[in-house]
Symmetry: C2
Subunit: 305 residues, 2 copies
């Protein structure tokens, strides 16, 4: 039986490329690992896959009875159905440790760095396995995506060094230009439904017993989203009505380095409590806030306590 390397719900570029890279690494080490994703690639990820000639992983939504590697998450809320009877062989991640437990020893590589593909780059080095040229390019893009071209507070020196070494393997001379090209694709909203935009990078969290959804859209200029803001607000109200306490949508301007947050909550004061800034109605500008993981989630977790 081939194990699956499987990223989280609402797959982003990191989780899809990490699945591909983990499968390549473990394949070259003599294990049978198949890349998988819980959904199709978003436009940014499609751009990356196409640019480096890689195929999107198969979509898998049920892992009952399967052996799996979790890439880019370790909490059950972002896992597929069937986890009760799945065997978790390993975890590669860069988030806080979630509530996945196992009944056998596993191989976990979880580091406080900006991107799962940074961890994978070190794993290739540790095991002395060569990274294929195309995979290196895609891994580099995943790191640029997660670290917002090194601007995110989640970005570490390890991430920068990983990009440097991957750029050599992939033969990429201007890393930042590639990053901007990718973020322009990510910024595009034409043709996407409000549902797709809200869920493009969306995660549910359990905050002190309350279900809280946080989505994020990263754009090179916030004006790109002006025309869809009202539609996005209506959409997150719909998502909230499905049994959530709050839904927040971060509209992150990667050039201005800050985020506008759209708010719908049973307790809107929680935003002021979390960030010390009073919202103007259903929206607030949060200067310097770019990372859901390192800034938004920890602040909300404290505010919800």
């Amino acid at each position: 039986m081939s194990a699956l390397a499987l990223g989280h719900m609402n797959p982003d570029t990191d989780s899809i490329v990490a699945a591909l890279a983990a499968a390549e690494l473990y394949g070259k080490r003599g294990f049978s690992v198949t890349p998988a994703a819980q959904g199709p690639p978003a436009p940014e990820t499609e751009f990356v896959l196409k640019k480096f000639g890689l195929t999107a992983p198969q979509v898998v939504k049920d892992v009952a009875g399967k052996e799996i590697w979790l890439v880019d998450y370790s909490d059950l809320q972002q896992a597929p159905t069937g986890m009760d009877s799945a065997t978790v062989l390993g975890i590669v991640d860069h988030h806080k440790l979630g509530d996945v437990t196992t009944s056998s020893p596993l191989e976990a590589w979880i580091w406080p760095v900006g991107c799962t593909n940074t961890v994978l780059r070190s794993m290739y080095a540790f095991y002395g396995v060569e990274i294929s040229k195309n995979m290196a390019g895609a891994m580099l893009c995943a790191i640029l995506s997660d670290t917002v071209i090194f601007k995110s507070p989640t970005c570490t020196d390890v991430d920068k060094k990983a990009v440097e070494s991957l750029a050599k393997i992939a033969g990429i001379s201007d890393v930042k230009a590639l990053g901007m090209e990718m973020f322009k694709v990510k910024s595009a909203v034409e043709g996407a439904s409000m549902h797709d935009l809200v869920h493009r990078d969306y995660k549910d969290f359990d905050m002190n017993g309350k279900k809280v959804g946080i989505g994020q859209l990263e754009v090179v200029d916030l004006s790109i989203l002006a025309a869809v803001k009202a539609g996005l607000q209506a959409e997150i109200e719909k998502v909230k009505s499905e049994g959530r306490h709050s839904v927040f949508l971060l509209l992150t301007d990667i050039m201005k380095e800050g985020s506008e947050m759209l708010i719908v909550s049973d307790d809107p004061f929680v935003v002021e409590k979390a960030f010390g800034v009073k919202p103007a109605g259903k929206t607030v500008w949060l200067p310097g806030i770019m990372s859901r993981k390192k800034q938004v989630v920890p602040n909300f977790e404290k505010a919800f306590k």
Copy 2:
């Protein structure tokens, strides 16, 4: 604030040496990490520390407000008090993934190998940090202890290679002789109370909502324990009466490569269900069973389902 590297309750040689080794490694990397243990070293560990001129870590039983590295465990049941307000910076372990969660990204190195010190040996190599001669000797002993001188089913090639490289650093020519010397110390029962013997390597588990204690004594010859067996049985009955569903004590004969299990349980049939062998009264011989982690716990977890 110096972070603590802290092993599990009822510290064994692996958890104490891992705390020392993690503190040395992170100290040499420029971080401030202090080794700690949840109790004093057992005789085997004392032998190892004395042999290599190392000092036992300070005893710490409350980690409220502290930054900690967990070594050799990842479940709350084996953690000290104060975990609610502690910050887990990292985990180094070789067990199944427990229920510890974090609110920030962490550094976790968890591998399916025979010993936490095997993982640490690779971490030293990964970070390019030299292992001191004495630490290498102690780490080697921890691996010999956890893998029962390579006889345990938990032992992997990675463990064997780690011992090989550590023996070179420590200047140890006959690894197996050192292992037997250590296991003879471990086998000694004179002067120890029944409580100490049962708790020397004892862990509580949550098995499908039931609290189950499993202790293990490893000896070079089971006859060493003949005189104390009745006392051990009485002691585990006392431990069970403190609110447990079952308490099992493995008396492992490392030369015969099997374990006699002393049993006290609300449902003694669970032993037959787990191992397919019918106990003779309150005891059963389990040929080939040497590892609590890899054999006994998984079998009981299935049987308790």
